[in-house]
């Protein structure tokens, strides 16, 4: 009898914790929605900011955000997948190079974003002469997203049962075709998860971009032009622009909606991909 009461208490406590998480998420969403919902309309999404962003919309900021994400992923995905394949397929655990690369990944993952910002500023903006630009910002974000992409691709590759590798080898399949036909398709859901995490981290990033892509809010003319992302816009409106709170909340709502949208698309893609892989 007493035991079952303890059981019930523990269960209650666990449920309380779970509801707390739900409450926090709900609160944030409710707050953002409540303040921003009335301001988000087509004019807001398609217009340019007026009066330092107090009025007008966020169109150029959305474009800059997409461009920066584009640069980031174009660089991070090939390098990340390549490194993951090298680590899990070609590197043996004991080798010094493998250990060194792993250690540097841990370091990369643990570095605060402000430090990435300083690094990006020194390397991309100054040393490579790209200045405050979308390219500099995207490349800096790529450095930040790399550990996430590599980790999850590696997880994906590792999750492929060893039986498949043995079966492939016993059929005389080469390493390359085992990788292309069996391992990479199996690792794709993992890769997508990494991409989403990476995009999430990149979208949320503010500090590193202040130093690298700048915060000019006009339309970018090329990727070597300075551009402001949504997160930077939110930061600027709420910290530097008195009376910018309304549009700041509206931008936050768009950002949250974007993130949720990306998450949903990725899990949908993972599903579709899995199904197609099994069909064809």
């Amino acid at each position: 009898m007493r035991e079952s009461r303890t059981d019930r208490l523990l269960e209650l406590a666990c449920w309380c914790s779970a509801f707390m998480v739900l409450a926090i998420a709900g609160w944030i969403l409710f707050d953002v929605m409540g303040h921003g919902f009335r301001r988000v309309d087509l004019n807001f999404l398609l217009g340019s900011p007026i009066d330092a962003g107090r009025q007008g919309g966020i169109a150029p900021i959305l474009v800059s955000t997409v461009l920066i994400l584009g640069v980031c992923m174009t660089v991070a995905v090939p390098i990340g997948v390549g490194a993951a394949v090298a680590l899990s397929e070609y590197g043996s655990e004991g080798r010094r190079a493998t250990r060194l690369i792993r250690a540097s990944l841990d370091v990369l993952a643990g570095i605060p974003s402000i430090v990435f910002g300083l690094f990006g500023n020194a390397l991309f903006c100054r040393a490579l002469g790209m200045g405050f630009s979308i390219a500099s910002g995207g490349l800096t974000l790529a450095c930040m997203a790399l550990p996430l992409v590599i980790r999850s691709t590696e997880e994906g590759l590792r999750s492929v049962p060893v039986e498949y590798r043995h079966a492939a080898a016993a059929l005389g399949m080469s390493r390359t075709s085992t990788l292309v036909h069996l391992l990479l398709p199996a690792a794709t859901p993992g890769l997508l998860v990494g991409l989403v995490l990476g995009i999430g981290r990149a979208l949320a990033e503010t500090a590193a971009l202040l130093f690298t892509s700048g915060y000019v809010s006009r339309w970018p003319t090329s990727i070597f032009d300075s551009g402001r992302t949504l997160s930077v816009h939110i930061y600027d409106l709420s910290m530097n622009v008195p009376g910018g709170d309304g549009n700041s909340h509206a931008s936050a709502l768009v950002l949250v909606a974007l993130l949720i949208g990306i998450n949903l698309t990725a899990s949908l893609m993972a599903n579709v991909w899995l199904r197609r892989r099994i069909r064809t």
Binding site: S92, E163, A169, A170, G172, R277
Partner: protein, 282 residues
């Protein structure tokens, strides 16, 4: 010679014809042979000095307790040992006279000639069709008709055609365990190998599927040379032509006895085999 025969009296000629009609008593030729084959994982010796001739078109069963190197022995015969880290093979293993140990042979063609079936059915997480296409494409068989006809041929050979021909494009992992194992056998056969290595192919299956796979293996005899590792003595007795008993001595596997199936079970040469067959050991 022919003239001499023609000149023979009729009765004599008949007699020699009758004699010629009798099936030839030729011993099958040795297909795979190991001499003093030893395998080490790092410092640990898995098995030592195994000398075993494997005859063409026969089923050679390898029996013995766990951990005496039976599966590792099989892996030497298609060089799957190359995948294992720290694995070191010495001695000799030949496939029709061609040395496999320590040589720079073409692994792709070796593994086309020597197929392998694993304990746990391991079809790829693809469709049934892709499971058979993938190895063919790897070995440069891409002609559509050729692929199609080989696919049907092997699926018929393993008795799966009637069960799956209408759903070749469904995932192979949706098949039952026994069907999956037969698909794996088909996948190995599609490359037209000479030798099939089977590592406890029935032990992960239910009794009915196990029986179906066992019958299939028995049918494959004569077309292929089969080496089967099994824990099931009754199975070895039912299907094998020769039986090899591996045993552990000084922490390493060795070959305790190798003889014809009937001799192995009815008049074993060594005491160990007798005890093992009686169920007193192992």
């Amino acid at each position: 010679m022919r003239n001499a025969k023609q000149r023979m009296p009729e009765t004599l000629a008949l007699q020699s014809n009758a004699e010629r009609r009798r099936p030839p008593r030729i011993l099958p030729r040795i297909h795979v042979e190991t001499r003093k084959l030893t395998l080490r994982y790092g410092p640990h010796v898995a098995f030592r000095d195994i000398t075993l001739p494997i005859r063409q078109g026969e089923i050679t069963a390898i029996v013995g307790p766990s951990g005496c190197g039976k599966s590792s022995f099989l892996a030497c015969l298609n060089r799957l040992t190359d995948l294992f880290t720290d694995c070191h093979v010495t001695g000799s293993a030949t496939l029709v006279g061609e040395e496999l140990v320590g040589t720079e042979i073409d692994l792709t063609s070796l593994r086309r000639r020597v197929g392998m079936i694993f304990q746990k059915p391991n079809p790829f997480p693809l469709t049934i069709r892709r499971n058979l296409e993938l190895p063919l494409r790897e070995h440069a068989v891409s002609d559509r008709h050729e692929v199609q006809s080989r696919m049907e041929e092997v699926l018929r050979a393993v008795g799966l055609w009637d069960e799956v021909h209408a759903r070749l494009d469904t995932p192979a992992l949706r098949l039952s365990g026994g069907q999956q194992q037969r698909l794996c056998i088909a996948r190995a056969l599609v490359l037209r190998p000479e030798v099939l290595l089977l590592d406890e192919p029935c032990s992960a299956l239910d009794p009915i599927s196990s029986g179906v796979v066992e019958d299939l293996i028995h049918r494959l005899r004569e077309t292929y040379t089969l080496v089967i590792v099994t824990h099931n003595l009754a199975q070895a007795r039912r299907i094998a032509d020769h039986v090899a008993l591996f045993w552990v001595k000084d922490g390493a596997g060795h070959l305790a006895e190798h003889s014809r199936c009937r001799d192995f079970f009815e008049s074993p040469k060594c005491e160990l085999t007798a005890a093992y067959v009686r169920g007193a050991r192992g």
